[in-house]
């Protein structure tokens, strides 16, 4: 069991420090997650068909040198193509409208098209988080077998954190943008989806209050570890991994302590009601 953990951990560490390579060649099934982000609800001209945009990696954005008014450049492809190209510019220009404008220019569009994303950097972050969410089940495919619950959760969390690695220098900026009041609902929405996805892939089948407590505790662990990772300069993010281990220990201790407190409280309540009845 320990050797399996080590193997999974090492394999994970090697991944987390470099650009993520999807382990499977399966074409990702389209994730139709609708949100209220306006660029995802873009309604095309009535001459083309409507459809929910998806942030899959088979967008048509990379196929052309200069855009033409053909059907491959309808709203299904273009906003995602621009944002995907903008991600490559994030290390240089940050999570800003400048990245989006320059990416649009690199695809042959006038930079004024950045107006499609009125929230600027927040829209770019939204796209990135959605993309990470779509990639997570693919990257964990087949690696969760034979591990204990805590190990699967650790693997899932580390895999997800590893996706931030290419942008880790600019991640504090992203966290600051996500913390702005107008963006808080978007970022909390994504956090909820992340922890739900990790628990689901770990095989969680709870149908009671545990469903909520599990996700709440993982959310706390995830956010603190993500913040710690932005300051981590160690090789292969070893310090982040140890930080994560300590957080899981805390959660376990807290769980036990909460249980004890609840038992004592229950005992006390029963005693008081007994006295009152007598």
């Amino acid at each position: 069991m320990a050797s399996i953990t080590r193997r999974a951990g090492v394999a994970l560490l090697m991944r987390s420090s470099s650009a993520i390579v999807p382990r499977t060649t399966i074409t990702p099934s389209a994730r139709q997650l609708t949100t209220s982000a306006s660029w995802r609800t873009a309604e095309p001209s009535s001459s083309t068909s409507t459809g929910t945009t998806t942030s899959t990696s088979n967008s048509n954005g990379a196929d052309h040198a200069s855009p033409t008014a053909s059907s491959t450049h309808g709203p299904k492809g273009t906003p995602d193509a621009i944002l995907r190209a903008a991600l490559a510019l994030v290390p240089e220009y940050g999570w800003t409208t400048t990245s989006i404008a320059k990416a649009a220019e690199s695809l042959g569009y006038p930079s004024i098209i950045h107006g499609m994303f009125p929230n600027g950097g927040a829209d770019l972050i939204d796209f990135f988080l959605q993309d990470c969410l779509n990639r997570l089940p693919l990257e964990l495919e087949g690696r969760m077998e034979g591990l204990s619950t805590q190990e699967t959760i650790k693997l899932g969390t580390l895999t997800r954190l590893g996706m931030i690695a290419p942008y880790v220098d600019r991640w504090p900026e992203a966290l600051a943008i996500m913390g702005q009041p107008s963006n808080v609902s978007m970022s909390l929405n994504h956090l909820a989806k992340i922890v739900d996805e990790i628990w689901y892939l770990a095989g969680d089948k709870s149908a009671d209050m545990n469903w909520y407590t599990k996700r709440a505790s993982l959310a706390a662990i995830y956010t603190t570890t993500e913040l710690y990772m932005t300051t981590d300069k160690t090789l292969n993010y070893e310090a982040t991994q140890r930080f994560l281990d300590r957080r899981f220990e805390d959660a376990a201790t807290l769980g036990k302590a909460t249980n004890d407190v609840l038992q004592i409280a229950e005992f006390g309540a029963k005693s008081v009601t007994g006295i009152l009845r007598s």
Partner: protein, 310 residues
């Protein structure tokens, strides 16, 4: 007198009829011409040859006029109001139109080197704000605006305003007389952005103007329209109606000595399609709209519509 009759016909709401002085403004003359035209028998051969077999009617304020007359009538209106246009805008909206236009340009958020076609640009409010934004936000002086208007009087006022700015005699601003329905001097796929502020409701065939906008924009270019629109809130709508029909024409009379033109202006606002309908028209012209496609300003008194050529 002909002018008084014309006045009563145009006013859709109760007016201060006893107080209205008799005068011979150009607008009244055009209306007199319209009345004479309507009284002609339909079989008049001279008029029949100049019309299409199925000559349509369109709205001019609350009146209906033949399509080919609307352009002339609108031209007359704006020839009358040109000299006081900016002052009247301030008087009618209490200066709020400046906030609308500032927000409009901030929403467009032009980037360095953007080429803008400002249609019905008239006295140049949008064009000036566009150049100022590029200069102040990006330190850029390569942005260019082509200010186009059908009315030479409005264009003259615009040119004069620009002589007071640092853009005078630079390549950043150019003036062009033209019709939004037929931008024949502007090449296909040549403009980064197209704006039309408080102008599209005066166009006889809005769909043609939208098609022309689509033609001249580059792929990925942005169409933006600032226009008066429908107020949905019933309380504010009542207040707005009273203000529009009872106060604005009087201000027009006092400030610009031209009540009729401002009566037309407020009536034409009511005849313009509401937000959702106009957004649909924009989509039908081929544009891609994001979300609903519009943003209400001041409870819907004005609205910004936007679309992308994709």
């Amino acid at each position: 007198m002909a002018s008084r009759t014309a006045l009563k016909q145009l006013a859709a709401r109760r007016t201060l009829a006893a107080w209205v002085p008799s005068r011979t403004a150009g607008f009244s003359t055009a209306t007199k011409a319209l009345n004479q035209y309507q009284q002609q028998p339909a079989s008049n051969p001279s008029t029949a040859t100049t019309q299409n077999a199925n000559q349509g009617e369109t709205h001019f304020g609350f009146k209906n006029v033949p399509e080919n007359m609307k352009e002339t009538l609108v031209k007359q209106v704006f020839a009358n109001v040109a000299s006081n246009y900016d002052l009247m805008n301030d008087a009618m909206s209490g200066g709020v139109h400046r906030l609308w236009k500032d927000h409009f340009i901030r929403t467009l958020a032009p980037t360095p080197g953007t080429k803008l076609l400002d249609v019905a640009g008239g006295t140049g409010d949008i064009a000036m704000r566009f150049l100022d934004y590029c200069r102040e936000t990006h330190g850029d002086s390569s942005a260019q605006v082509t200010l186009l208007d059908i009315n030479p009087h409005m264009l003259e006022v615009g040119k004069e305003r620009f002589t007071q700015t640092q853009y005078h005699n630079t390549s950043q601003v150019s003036f062009m007389e033209g019709n939004a329905e037929d931008l024949k001097d502007i090449a296909d796929n040549s403009m980064d952005a197209y704006t039309i502020a408080f102008g599209i409701r005066n166009v006889t065939h809005i769909d043609r103007a939208l098609k022309e906008a689509y033609r001249v924009l580059k792929p990925g270019g942005r169409f933006m329209c600032l226009e008066f629109s429908r107020v949905e809130n019933p309380v504010i709508s009542k207040v707005y109606d009273v203000f529009s029909f009872d106060v604005i024409p009087v201000i027009g009379q006092v400030v610009a000595n031209d009540r009729d033109s401002y009566q037309y202006l407020v009536e034409s606002i009511r005849r313009f399609p509401p937000q959702k309908d106009f957004a649909r028209m924009i989509k039908e012209a081929g544009f891609t709209v994001m979300g609903q496609g519009y943003e209400d300003l001041t409870f819907g008194v004005a609205a910004i519509h936007s679309g992308f050529k994709l």
